[in-house]
Symmetry: C2
Subunit: 251 residues, 2 copies
């Protein structure tokens, strides 16, 4: 293969692992189950190679094959790894004592999000009273389309911010490039839900003491919330976030 590797980050890296991860990424996009040939074409690898990679991933439960259609999708193994990761993540432990309290004090659903590869990933939640019909836990959204994601991306380092820009839609990207400083300095951010069913979100950052947000704390609210009510909610969020941040930097 041509040595067109100009990206310095990839030095001393294994092609097979790169390919395996590429496939996991492809599986994570689009429909739940996908055709081998599609995956081969989209990845630029030969069918045989994709087949071998998938077989290896299936053996590890990181992928699975639908017995009826023989198509491939992500497997349950990824959740096991994820839960192990989250179970030992300091931020979540630090936030844990405050979440239920916060839910009870505000009456709203409280969520915790991380920034991963330009996406806001919602990793924990405590559901409020209403909930509505559409309760989508397990959300992964382009960071710049959500309040939580904006809080995280705005205070992240340059590569992470750039990834967020790449992940975003054009309009969001243009908005973000103007607003980054404002977002970073604001005590809290608010983003109105786009779709009718989607709730609006109010978010603050949880800092690790080095001035970088390691997680976002958010509440889902009605789109017609008053300015005053938002301020009250924000104060409550900030209080919990700083308390959690203290236990983080403390130890």
């Amino acid at each position: 293969m041509a040595e067109s590797d100009v990206r310095p980050e990839a030095r001393g890296t294994l092609g097979t692992v790169r390919n395996a991860v590429l496939l996991l990424d492809l599986l994570s996009e689009g429909p739940a189950y996908q055709h081998l040939n599609d995956l081969a074409e989209r990845s630029g690898l030969s069918v045989a190679t994709v087949h071998r990679l998938l077989r290896s991933l299936v053996l590890a439960d990181l992928a699975e094959q639908d017995p009826r259609s023989a198509r491939y999708g992500l497997g349950p193994g990824v959740t096991r790894l994820s839960e192990r990761y989250l179970g030992r993540l300091p931020v979540l432990g630090a936030l844990a004592p405050y979440l239920v309290r916060l839910r009870d004090a505000t009456g709203h659903t409280v969520q915790v999000a991380l920034l991963v590869r330009g996406n806001a990933v919602y990793v924990d939640r405590v559901d409020g009273q209403d909930g509505g019909i559409y309760r989508d836990a397990h959300r992964v959204r382009p960071a710049l389309a959500t309040a939580a994601g904006r809080v995280l991306a705005a205070s992240a380092d340059t590569p992470a911010w750039d990834q967020a820009l790449e992940t975003a839609e054009r309009e969001q990207r243009e908005l973000a490039e103007k607003k980054r400083d404002a977002w970073r300095q604001a005590p809290y951010l608010y983003v109105a839900g786009e779709a009718a069913a989607e709730a609006s979100e109010l978010a603050v950052g949880v800092s690790d003491g080095q001035g970088r947000a390691v997680a976002a704390l958010a509440v889902a609210v009605d789109p017609d919330i008053t300015e005053e009510r938002a301020g009250t909610l924000a104060r409550q969020l900030i209080q919990a976030a700083t308390a959690a941040g203290r236990t983080l930097s403390h130890d």
Copy 2:
């Protein structure tokens, strides 16, 4: 390398992927961050190989390196994959409408668990009133040590059941070998919490229509719950589980 591969499952499988997955497994056990040399020894691979594998995994955010200690741990990328997987998992969508309702009706914390490689992985929850101080979301427990895991393992196929046996402690294993049929046929299972802080659990299976439990629905309860109260709770769980099961097999 010696061709001692007698395991038929691993035919046509990539060693590099096997090794990468092995490392992810090692990272998911024990402390959050681990030394390169430990990992090399435990995996049976050379230090150089482990280093290259980890570097590749870090590039994909499936692993990360603590900047202070230079030790390696799981990375946030696994959560992104996991949330994508869970977000499209039919069972969770089918259960979603009932979870909050169930929490409100019972007052207890409701949880949803999957069986993954012999472990009960808790993938969704709706927190109840109390919660107590210790709210450990993101649990991964040996399946046979929990009510949810027993429900799932007992109705699973043979390899999955065997994995659950391997994962369990000796006592649990001996108990399980006697009880499997009873567990599979019982309308619900109850397991008292072991530690003082640990809640007890009452669980039922969510069937996909083929008589196999694809998820477990559980509530956390006090250890001194009365038989009668347990029956009432179980009825409510079963009702939600069968309703979700219908929408599953329906479409």
